[in-house]
Symmetry: C2
């Protein structure tokens, strides 16, 4: 078992990573009161909720099972969580436990942030994507029809338990989507980690327990360092959005839930590499290397058929990474070295969009 | 014009108090970007929104007018705020301006706390109750059918403009409801202020501008001192709930919006005095003095007809001021000196309920 500390002053917390993490006795240490509300979904609940509930048998425990999928990540869909907590008369010492992927973590986290103006919460992420990405950062929230994650809070968990054993039941497509975020960390800040991923990709896809824990720990450590510097996303944290501005445009165009987030990010990473090459920062070999790695990880490498440059521009204009109407992109000076480009060169952007879209 | 600074470290902010406060040039100083979303309601909007919009003519400005009343303080009812902000493509530098009473301040504040995980917000409270009470404390949120203010956030405004000129259009019943909170501050921590209120009550009810600004400033200063000590309501802040546990029970029993919050608090103050007398802390003369002051301020002095002791107990059990199931009350050692009673004497409580209910 690996343990990593996310250093955020009074809001610091540990991440436990490895097979069987959700069965650790440390779980109880992070529950302050006697009341627990378990929030899960219809996919993960039947697989793992009973086992978790057994471990929590000493508490006054209620369970909420939400429908599975990004389409249900709405303000309305939070109500069953509040209903259950209030029906059980849970007070301000309630601990909310999120068992599921990124959607469940975001929703349960925002519900915990808002219930009686904030109660403690614990994350048990069950997808690779949520283990590497949602475990750190404190971003919680729901979607609005006009934009993703537009309603939410910055709210830190008391602890995260990234149980790699549960990845055995993850559909291969979701495993690939998680690997897209792993690749992102290599590309944004660690050239050696990028090479390590290339070397071990087959073993990671075969769920080698040690290598998987290493990969998750490395991503969480990188994200923790960035977030510790910039908890409220005033500056450097934007680097984490490498591939996400293009990716969000794809998700918005397709309708949330059609492409997986990680799939859209993979294409976004390739497009960011492409755009960096247009600016003369990366070589075409670099772009090919990113494309090849995504393809080997089972990820798409081109925007959805029929999506045009204009579709990207429409959706990128509303993306929240813009300040005062200017388009901001995260690009790469070289592979493993991302930066914030606040004045995107329009020619390079259009060349990227036209070169990427397969219409 | 009076100015008061609420000292909360990086989240400190000023309160401007006096006639014409909403027209101050300081308003613009507290708006960082170019985007403003004005949130008001169908009662206050027609009276004051045009004048405010004229003062904000230099900004990209949108206006949302919500229905008036506690019955509309729901999670659902926040959506028009998010819809307007996203339709206008407002970004993270948006400033939300709340023009209205406590309900508008709570809703707009929670919307600001949640929009893109937090944008700046400014309060322009237009009722006496919101000027003395909601201006300080950072409590925002909405109601749930099973409990008041159960969904929300602690979120501080950038500035508050308490314009006493707008009190001229406040219905007398709402002016009285505001005076209940003013009386609460005298009772909870300042015997001299209590005597000052008794002396000047008639002038306050006649809206004497100087005395009203003095009263508001005194209440805000007292609340600011308490909140600065205990921003997240871990301890001493509970003193501010003097009269509120009984009062919330009355509101819940009647259905939110039937009694005004301040009316319920007035009866709650009298009941807290009664209970303190049952414990031998206050004299019967003290109880009469509280009752008389509330009556002179045009406030009710008894629970609604037909509300029984059992109704109080039912609603008080779900009140969030309880910890681990124990009933907590704020009582008085003497008039002007409130304290937190964590182990309420059941006999004294029952005697209070039976002596107060007029069935």
């Amino acid at each position: 078992m690996k343990t990593l500390q996310v250093a955020l002053g009074a809001r610091s917390y540990p991440i436990y990573i490895g097979p069987g993490a959700m069965g650790l006795p440390e779980l109880a240490e992070h529950i302050a009161g006697t009341e627990v509300l378990l929030v899960t979904n219809t996919t993960v609940g039947p697989l793992y909720a009973d086992q978790l509930c057994a471990a929590l048998s000493g508490y006054r425990l209620e369970r909420v099972t939400l429908p599975d999928g990004e389409a249900y990540k709405t303000l309305d869909a939070l109500m069953p969580i509040f209903d259950a907590a209030l029906t059980a008369r849970f007070g301000r010492r309630l601990t909310v436990v999120a068992l599921g992927g990124g959607v469940i973590g975001d929703m349960a986290g925002f519900a915990a942030a808002s219930y009686q103006r904030g109660v403690p919460f614990i994350q048990i992420p069950t997808t690779l994507l949520s283990q590497v990405d949602s475990s750190v950062g404190g971003k919680t929230g729901v979607n609005h029809p006009l934009g993703k994650n537009m309603i939410g809070a910055f709210y830190q968990p008391k602890a995260v338990f990234a149980d790699t054993a549960v990845l055995a039941t993850l559909p291969p497509r979701e495993l690939s989507a998680g690997l897209a975020e792993v690749i992102k960390y290599g590309l944004l800040g660690d050239r050696l980690f990028l090479a390590w991923i290339e070397t071990h990709l087959a073993a990671l896809m075969a769920l080698d327990a040690d290598l998987m824990a290493d990969a998750i720990a490395q991503c969480c450590a990188m994200k923790a360092a960035i977030v510790a510097d910039d908890e409220r996303e005033a500056g450097g944290r934007a680097l984490l959005n490498l591939g996400h501005t293009f990716g969000h445009a794809i998700e918005a165009h397709q309708g949330y839930g059609s492409w997986l987030h990680g799939e859209a990010v993979a294409v976004g990473l390739i497009m960011a590499a492409h755009c960096s090459a247009e600016l003369g920062l990366l070589s075409l070999d670099d772009v090919s290397r990113v494309t090849r790695l995504c393809a080997l990880a089972g990820l798409p490498t081109q925007p959805p058929k029929g999506m045009r440059p204009g579709d990207f521009l429409t959706h990128m204009a509303v993306d929240k990474k813009n300040q005062d109407g200017r388009l901001r992109l995260i690009l790469m000076r070289q592979l493993g070295d991302a930066y914030i480009e606040d004045a995107v060169n329009e020619r390079a952007l259009m060349a990227t969009l036209e070169g990427s879209c397969c219409v």
